[in-house]
């Protein structure tokens, strides 16, 4: 196995269709912007890219929206290189990164572009396009009516029962996230928000409120990866990929994917993410105590409490206290989402796993300005996607 390095990174700032940031740009145009930035950052021309791993939603979305890697290659100039389109819901970006990483590590290619980008449909994501009784998603929506945020609210409500978490504590996560976003020129929202404003925002799915749930956004992210040996021809101190993993949910998972499942024998939350992160620690030979900061998938503020505990970054029931004492801020002892997270960016589904690699790289290079984690040495990234998909990656300098 070759050691893998991140050579270049780029983003298109996140925004909403029609605004001053993304306007009416196509997903291909957004990706082109991010890719040009990543190639420039790497110091590598397009013609030296040997393969593209694209986080693709075109087919999993099934509605004609979303990214397809072939369009991106055509946009930059068809050189005949292989394109891998990875579909894994909101975990697709992490999935594409893992495939690129694996191929560089395996010596198949030595200059790979990983890209994710999205122009999202408006409003709540409609997850089922078919009306057939054999489709579990159709049954759940027709017979019950369980919109996406309802999953997060179910988990958040259970945490309130298990640990006494309050609605105010969920709101404080959003306040912390937006405080970070002030220092991130790529975030869609870059203004601080007050606790009273969060608590005054309407419930989307009680107990979770509008400002505690990430909206959908348009945006794009790209990274160029190669072997560490090759990277050292460009820079003396490349950011290294300590590990990259993909996992899917376990049969025992607490939350049924369809209408029902067996009552689990014990706690079994987020089994796909737990498996991906645990494996990433094992592969890297790095433990939770070595992590300088984490970028995790905060579709809702709830996850900033649940995930760090499940992964051993802190003790069960401790996360609320760590937040309230400032320890999850960039200068705390367990920084979470110094970028501002999904709550500040909004979610451009397939871009997110790649966006996290970009932020990890900037942090490890010390290029994150006012949101910089002091002495950042090891960064952990994690995504979780519809269909029971999860990814993790650990980067180090």
């Amino acid at each position: 196995m070759q050691e893998v390095a991140v050579l270049g990174v780029g983003l298109h700032r996140f925004g909403k269709t029609g605004d001053d940031i993304v306007g009416n740009k196509s997903v291909t145009a957004l990706c082109r912007h991010a890719i040009d930035a990543a190639l420039s950052d790497a110091g590598v021309p397009w013609k030296q890219i040997q393969a593209v791993c694209a986080a693709s939603s075109r087919f999993s979305g099934g509605k004609g929206w979303g990214l397809n890697g072939n369009d991106v290659v055509e946009e930059l100039g068809s050189t005949g290189i292989p394109v891998y389109n990875m579909s894994a819901g909101c975990a697709a970006g992490g999935n594409a990164f893992n495939v690129g990483y694996s191929m560089v590590a395996g010596g198949v290619y030595d200059m790979v572009l990983v890209v994710g980008g999205e122009v999202m449909p408006k409003g709540m994501i409609q997850t089922s396009g078919v009306e057939e009784a054999t489709d579990p998603e159709f049954l759940r929506q027709r017979c019950v009516g369980m919109p996406g945020p309802s999953f997060w609210a179910t988990l958040a409500r259970r945490r309130m029962h298990d640990f006494g978490t309050t609605e105010e504590q969920f709101a404080k996560v959003a306040v912390k996230a937006r405080r970070c976003s002030v220092h991130n020129p790529y975030a869609r929202f870059q203004k601080e928000i007050g606790l009273d404003e969060v608590l005054a925002s309407p419930y989307v799915s009680n107990p979770l409120r509008l400002f505690e749930i990430c909206p959908v956004s348009n945006g794009a992210a790209a990274v160029v990866i190669c072997s560490a040996a090759k990277a050292r021809q460009f820079t003396s101190r490349p950011v290294l990929v300590a590990s990259s993993t993909v996992a899917t949910m376990h049969f025992s998972d607490a939350l049924p994917r369809g209408l029902a499942g067996p009552v689990p024998g014990g706690p079994s939350f987020h089994t796909e993410s737990l498996a991906a992160v645990k494996r990433a620690f094992e592969m890297a030979g790095i433990g939770p105590q070595d992590v300088s900061f984490t970028e995790l998938q905060d579709n809702t503020c709830y996850y900033e409490f649940a995930y760090p505990e499940e992964w051993g970054l802190c003790k069960p029931g401790e996360a609320e206290h760590l937040l309230e004492s400032g320890q999850t801020a960039p200068n705390g002892r367990m920084p979470i989402n110094p970028s501002g997270g999904f709550v500040s960016f909004g979610e451009a589904t397939t871009a997110m796993g790649v966006f996290q690699i970009v932020e990890l790289t900037w942090q490890l290079r010390g290029q994150s300005g006012g949101r910089q984690v002091p002495d950042a040495r090891v960064g952990l990234a994690q995504t979780n996607g519809l269909g029971g998909n999860a990814t993790a990656a650990i980067l180090k300098k």
Binding site: G123, M124, I125, Q126, S128, E131, A133, F138, L139, R140, Q141, R142, C143, V144, G145, M146, P147, P149, S150, F151, W152, A153, T154, L155, R157, R158, M160, H161, P202, Y203, V204, S205, N206, F251, L255, P256, L259, A260, G261, P262, V263, P264
Partner: protein, 146 residues
């Protein structure tokens, strides 16, 4: 005027014998319950996959719940004006964890409530009432700490 009453999706549930029942299956090898019916057992620790039809009914415990504060997108259907409702995740005594709308208003619910399976109207269309399975609190006063 009584509407014609139809299930929102046929074959998944009924209350022909009086009590509400969900039509699923259970693996005779590992006892894993499935709803709706499954042709095969998906338990990775089970090598048997001997599936038998099975109906699930009775009481359970509210494991957690959420609220649809806004109308879900299609293919959900609802009566207008939209009234927010709670969605329960219920552990039935028979070993099945199942999602379903709650009959009771969201503010009345507590995690750990004892609930029963019922069949109840979901929406109305063309002079017909369409039903689904839902859950109802058995005794709100007994809303426990567990």
């Amino acid at each position: 005027m009584s509407d014609e009453i139809l299930p929102c999706v046929p074959g998944l549930f009924d209350q022909s014998g009086g009590a509400a029942r969900l039509h699923g299956s259970r693996c005779a090898s590992c006892r894993t319950p499935y709803f709706p019916r499954s042709a095969e057992c998906h338990n990775p620790d089970c090598g048997g996959s001997r599936m038998e039809d099975c109906s699930f009914a009775g009481n359970g415990v509210l494991w957690s719940y959420s609220v649809a504060d806004f109308p879900p997108p299609p293919p959900h259907r609802y009566d207008k004006p939209f009234v927010p409702y709670a969605i329960g995740v219920v552990d039935l005594d028979c070993g099945l964890r199942v999602v379903g709308q709650m009959v009771d208003p969201p503010a009345a619910l507590r995690v750990g409530d004892t609930v029963e399976l019922v069949i109840s109207e979901l929406y109305h269309e063309d002079g017909k009432a369409f039903t689904s399975w839902k859950f109802r609190q058995l005794a709100a006063a007994a809303a426990g700490s567990e």
